[in-house]
Symmetry: C3
Subunit: 269 residues, 3 copies
C-alpha cells in the first residue's frame, strides 16, 4: 500500500480548483488539512496559467457561470497538456439541460482522470434518464449496489476515467474493476461540501501517484474514515452538522497512513 498521506505532506502539491463559492472555503481547508496547497482562480484569462503550474485540477460545476466555464475549458487544455490529474465533480448535472450540456461538452473534449458524483449525477452523465433533484442524490436513484457498480463501469469504460459514486456505500471503479467502500457517516450528507471536499482530496491523492485507481480509492476511504471519527467527536460534543463540518476537516488534518489503513473498510467487488 502506498503511503499517500506521507507523500502528500512531503510534496505539498498545488491543487487548482475551479469550484463553487458555496463550499470553496471548506475545500481549501480540507486540502490544507491533508497537506496540499489550494489555489482557486476562475478568471478565464489567468486560470489556465494556474493549471499550468499546478499538480492537479478540480472542475466543480456547483455554481458554474459562463465565465467560469471558459476558465474550466482553457484550464483543462493546459492540465491535459501537462499531464496532471483532472477531477470532474458534476454537481447537479441532470437537474437541467444547461448543466447537463456543459458536462457533456467537457467530457467530449477533455480528458478527466477521475469523475466523482452522487448516483443521480453519474447516471445523468452516463446518458440515462435520471431523477436528479438539485444537488443532492435522489432517493429513487439510490439503488442496489450491483446496479451502481454496473453504472460506474459503464461510465468508466466510455470515458477512460476512474469513476467514483458517493453514497451510503461508495463505489470506486476503473473500467471492469470496482471496489466498494463502507466507511462514512450519515451526517456527511447533512453538510454542504462533503462531496466537493472529496473531489479535491482525490486530486491531491492522484497528484502523488501513478495509480489513479488506488489513489481515488484511498481518498474515498480517507473521507469516510474522517467522517466516522468526526461523528464520534460531534456526538460527544452534543453537536450537529456545523460541528461535524469542523470535526471532519480536523480529522483529515490528524490522519496518517497507519490510521487510514487501520479503519479502512473496502473490498473489491
Amino acid at each position: 500500500m502506498e503511503n499517500f498521506i506521507n507523500k502528500i505532506k512531503a510534496k505539498n502539491p498545488l491543487i487548482h480548483c475551479i469550484t463553487n463559492y458555496v463550499t470553496a472555503n471548506d475545500v481549501a481547508n480540507a486540502l490544507l488539512a491533508i497537506g496540499a496547497s489550494p489555489i482557486m482562480a476562475d478568471e478565464p484569462e489567468e486560470a489556465y496559467m494556474m493549471s499550468a503550474i499546478s499538480n492537479g485540477l478540480v472542475v466543480n460545476l456547483g455554481t458554474l457561470n459562463k465565465h467560469s466555464i471558459e476558465a474550466m475549458k482553457s484550464s483543462l487544455v493546459t492540465a491535459n497538456l501537462g499531464g496532471i490529474a483532472t477531477v470532474l465533480d458534476p454537481v447537479g448535472v441532470g437537474a437541467n439541460k444547461f448543466r447537463t450540456n456543459i458536462a457533456n461538452e467537457l467530457l467530449k473534449n477533455y480528458k478527466f482522470s477521475v469523475i466523482r458524483g452522487n448516483i443521480s449525477e453519474i447516471k445523468a452523465l452516463d446518458g440515462l434518464v435520471s431523477q436528479t433533484k438539485g444537488v443532492d442524490a435522489n432517493e429513487k436513484d439510490e439503488e442496489c449496489e450491483q446496479s451502481k457498480v454496473d453504472l460506474a463501469k459503464s461510465l468508466s469504460q466510455k470515458t477512460n476515467a476512474v469513476v467514483v459514486i458517493s453514497g451510503k456505500i461508495d463505489v470506486i471503479c476503473y473500467k471492469n474493476r470496482a471496489f466498494i467502500c463502507e466507511n462514512g457517516d450519515a451526517m456527511m450528507k447533512d453538510i454542504t461540501g462533503s462531496g466537493c471536499m472529496l473531489s479535491a482530496l482525490i486530486a491531491a491523492f492522484c497528484s502523488v501517484s501513478k495509480d489513479l485507481f488506488e489513489a481515488s480509492l484511498k481518498a474515498v476511504v480517507l473521507s469516510g474514515v474522517a467522517g466516522e471519527l468526526a461523528r464520534k467527536k460531534t456526538d460527544a460534543q452534543n453537536g450537529a452538522n456545523a460541528s461535524f463540518r469542523n470535526n471532519f476537516i480536523d480529522e483529515i488534518y490528524k490522519m496518517d497512513d497507519e490510521k487510514l489503513e487501520k479503519f479502512a473498510r473496502f473490498s473489491e467487488i
Copy 2:
C-alpha cells in the same frame, strides 16, 4: 399549531438561493440543518430552470452583480408562474442608489411572498429616507416598536407580502396584523449571515404551508430560539462569534416542533 419542522424533514424541500458568496456556506448548512435541500445557481441561462424545480426561491442582494440580477429576474418569473414561495432579502438596500433601484425594480415587477430585512433596509424599501450604513442596521433606525410595526404594515400593504423586520425585537407583519417575537440573542448581530440564514429558513417554512404568515413567524421564532440556545453553549465553551455561528446551525439541526413551542416568545400586537 402546524408542525413545520416535521413537515420540512418529511418533504425535504428544494430551496433555490440566489445569494451572496459571503454567507452562502452558512445558508446551505442552515437549510440542511432544518431538513431542506439547498441549491445555489446564479448563471442567468440556468437559474430559472432551477427555480422551476424548486419549492422555494430566495433572492438575496448581498453581493449582487449584473449577472446575478438577470438570474434573479428570470428565476422570479418561473417561481411566480409555479406559485412557489419567494423571499426577498434586501441586503444593504438604502446604502446606495444602485442597490435601491434594483430592489425597487424587483418589487415592482415580481411577486414576493415574504420580505425580510433589518429596519434600515425595510425603511429604504418603503421609500422613506433611511440612514443605512452598509449591511448592518443603523442605530438611529432602531426605533420604538410601534413605529417598526407601522412601517412593516405599510410595506406589507403596498406589496401584499409578509414583512419581517429583524432586530432586538422582531416584527412579523401581514397587512394589518403583526406579531412581535422576543426570541434571539445579541450575538446574532456579531456574525455575518444570521439574516441571510433566516431568509432561507423562511423560504423552507413557507414551502410546507399555505399560511405564509404563520410560516414566517415560526421561522423567526426558530432562528431566535436557536440563537438563545447557541449562546448558552458558546458561553459554556468560553467561545465567541465563530463558535456561536457553528452552535447556531447545530441548534437548528437539533430543533423539533416541541422544543420550538416550548421556548417560543411571541405575541400579536
Copy 3:
C-alpha cells in the same frame, strides 16, 4: 500606545472588502469580531459608492476577475478621494503574469496605505524574480530576517505605503523604519484566510488612527496573539485546523487592548 481595539469598538468602522469568495466569510466574521462592520460589494456599478461611505477599503486579489478588477479600480478612486485607508492584499501575485500585471497597474495608478502579503508576493511586487507557488509563500523565499526587512523597505520607499510581510516572523515597515513581530502560530498557515483576515483587520485598525504604521503593527500583533491563544485552545480540544479557524476568530472577539499589550512581542529592527 493607542487603544486601537477600544476605538474600533466605539467607532464601528465600515470596511469595504473587494475580496475573494474563498475566505470572504472568515474576513466578515473577523471584522465583526474586532468591532468593525464588513461590506462586500464588487459589482463595478456600485462598488465605488460603497467605498464612498466606508472607513476603509481592502483590495484582495484572491479570486479576481475582470469585473471585480473594474470594481477595485473605481473603488480606489473614491477611496483615495475620500482619504480613507486602502489595503492591498496581492494574493498569488508572481504566480502568473496576468495577476502580476493587475497588481502593477493598481500600484501605479492608486494610492495604497498598506500592502500586506507573504514574502513571495512582496518580492514579486518589488519587481524581483520570485518563486511564487500559488497563494502560499515559497520556502525558498523564506529567507533571513534582514533580507525581508530590506525588501519591505524597498517596496515601502517605492510606494509610500506601509509594507507588511507575513511569515514566521512578521515584518512591518514604513520607509526606512521597520518592526519585527514574533507573535503567531504555525497553524495559521494551515488555514485558508489568515492573511486575508489580517489585511482586513489592518484596514479596521487604520480606520481609527492617523498613524498607519502603528495601526498596521498592532493589527499584526493582534493576529499573532489571537493565533497563539487559538492554538492553545485548539490543542486542548484535540482539534486541528478547522477548530483553529473558529478559535482564531473567537480570540479576536475576546481581545482587548490590555490583553494585546500583555502578549505583544515586537521590536524595532
